[in-house]
């Protein structure tokens, strides 16, 4: 995790117990993601996808990241996922988008109703 993060959010999928907490540090322009870390526990897909996500977004602008689509994530994950596992793969992205929305007012992600987010 990051001490004194600039943006932070927690996400949980109550149906299966996947949890993640995302910490973001912006660069000097206050909008480019300089560092990002996550902690949490869950299935292999949720952990792997969130890990890949953090690699994907380093050095990118918050506005750009807020518009990343589920297909962007699924392309990174690379294996075909059934609808049930889709939520696992997207938990990290949804939580990150919420963190950015809280801090920078960027658009809220879809799929909020299914998750417990903070």
């Amino acid at each position: 995790m990051i001490e004194a993060p600039d943006a932070h959010a927690e996400g949980k999928n109550p149906l299966c117990g996947d949890e993640t907490e995302i910490f973001v540090k912006f660069g000097s322009d206050g909008a480019t993601i300089e560092d990002i870390k996550f902690s949490g526990r869950g299935c292999a897909i949720s952990q792997a996808a969130t890990s890949m996500l953090t690699e994907m977004v380093k050095g990118r602008h918050a506005d750009e990241v807020a518009t990343l689509s589920r297909d962007d994530i699924l392309e990174e994950v690379g294996i075909p996922l059934t609808p049930v596992r889709l939520k696992c793969a997207l938990l990290g992205l949804t939580t990150l988008k919420l963190a950015l929305h809280k801090e920078k007012g960027t658009p809220l992600p879809d799929g909020l109703d299914d998750l417990e987010l903070d």
């Binding site: 109550p14 149906l15 299966c16 117990g17 996947d18 869950g42 299935c43 292999a44 897909i45 049930v84 596992r85 696992c88």
Partner: protein, 414 residues
């Protein structure tokens, strides 16, 4: 595996009745270990439904022509089969619903709204499936009644010793419990619960979704006032289920759904209800599905409910024995002599979804999740478990493949 001297049923032979097993999954033969969620269908049911549609189908009860008569005979014939299946005294007590969930909602709404009020108490158990938990919780909220839960012990059996304490002096009006737990396989002492409920002036509502397919049910001796079960879990099609209810209670209840079929006469000033069971069957029913359920009952009776129960009991014992050899697996629930053919477990350090995923690649189907029992999962301290469940077509080799699959899971993901 120990083989009994007189085999009760020949699962290998019965398997040939189920066409689904002919199709490989990821190139491997299907090991279907999820019968608790739904059962596979025998050819008898599939063929009979097709024939029904091809020769005997129209709408029921009102037609004057031949097809309608045949359809009605098929539908009402199925109702009589259900009556005999649970040993009810009259077909008037057998109501076709969509499934057990709708049957339980029917009681909660049609009985609960008129019979629960502020100060009254509805009691469910910690083992309940959401279908017998949420309706009572919500109807209690709506009527101002209280809602409490009877807890389980560490083996997953009901704390019958805490019954009086949980209820206290409150006027308990309804006790709702499953006969068999879909998560842990626990067999609940429903006769005792019902006797206690009646002593306290409460009705007893039983969710038999996980019991009716697997063991003999006799409503004359069970003690329950309402029993709900689903066709799709007992070799029948989806879309139809059964509510059995005590006649006096059903007669006194308001209808659940309104519309055609459930009325006797309709005028602007007033509408009169049809007699039982039709009072609770509004609209066109699931005709061919009910017919299919009847055929499924014939099939189960030909195999023998007692034989099915015995077969599953042997499989459960075998499965528990094999799983005990895996140090990285935690099993939940009572010992084999006190459970049905169902095992919930977790693999250390591996999420249930991942376990189920790896097993799928091996052609083994098990369930991962909370099994619609979130309160129970919470009690177990987990978000989800894996569950393997057995039926008349399950063979020990499938359990061997489960175990081999779990070893692979630990290798790949542990």
């Amino acid at each position: 595996m120990a083989v009994s001297a007189r085999p009760t049923l020949d699962a290998h032979k019965l398997r040939a009745d189920f066409p689904v097993f002919e199709h490989p999954i990821h190139g491997k033969p299907l090991a279907f270990l999820d019968s608790a969620v739904t059962s596979q269908k025998p050819r008898h049911v599939l063929d009979a439904m097709r024939e029904f549609y091809e020769t005997s189908y129209s709408n029921v009860h009102r037609g004057v022509y031949t097809l309608s008569e045949r359809a009605t005979e098929g539908y009402e014939g199925a109702r009589e089969k259900v009556r005999a299946f649970v040993n009810a005294s009259s077909t008037r007590e057998v109501i076709f619903t969509r499934q057990a969930t709708e049957a339980l909602n029917l009681v909660a709404y049609a009985w609960g709204l008129d019979n629960l009020g502020p100060g009254d108490l509805a009691v469910v158990t910690e083992l309940e499936h959401h279908s017998n938990f949420v309706p009572w919780q919500q109807i209690a909220k709506r009527t101002g009644a209280e809602f409490r839960m009877l807890p389980i012990d560490d083996l997953g059996e009901l704390r019958m010793d805490l019954l009086d304490e949980v209820v206290g002096d409150a006027p308990v009006k309804v006790v709702a419990a499953n006969l068999v737990s879909n998560s842990l396989g626990t067999i609940n002492p429903v006769e005792r619960l019902a006797a206690w409920a009646h002593e306290r002036g409460a009705i007893m509502v039983v969710d038999a979704a996980q019991a009716a397919p697997h063991r003999r049910i006799d409503v004359q001796t069970l003690g329950a006032d309402f029993v709900a079960f689903s066709s799709h879990k007992m070799c029948g099609p989806t879309g139809v289920g059964v509510l059995w209810g005590r006649r006096e209670l059903l007669e006194a209840m308001s209808p659940f759904n309104y519309g055609g079929s459930m009325i006797r006469s309709v005028k602007v000033e007033e509408t009169l209800w049809n007699e039982l069971p039709y009072k609770f069957e509004a609209g066109t029913p699931a005709i061919a599905e009910a017919y299919g359920l009847g055929v499924a009952i014939d099939y189960l009776e030909s195999v023998g409910l007692e034989a099915i129960e015995e077969h599953e009991h042997e499989l459960a014992a075998y499965a528990l024995e094999q799983l005990a050899e895996l140090p990285f697996v935690t099993v939940y629930g009572p010992p084999p002599e006190r459970r049905v053919g169902l095992v919930s477990f977790n693999v250390d350090g591996v999420h249930p979804h991942d376990v189920a995923q790896v097993l799928d690649w091996e052609g083994v189907a098990i369930r991962a999740g909370h099994h619609c029992c979130q309160p129970l999962m919470s009690r177990l301290g987990v978000a989800a478990t894996n569950r393997a469940s057995f039926y008349l077509y399950t063979v020990p080799e499938e359990i061997d493949r489960l175990v081999a699959g779990l070893r692979k899971v630990k290798e790949v993901l542990g």
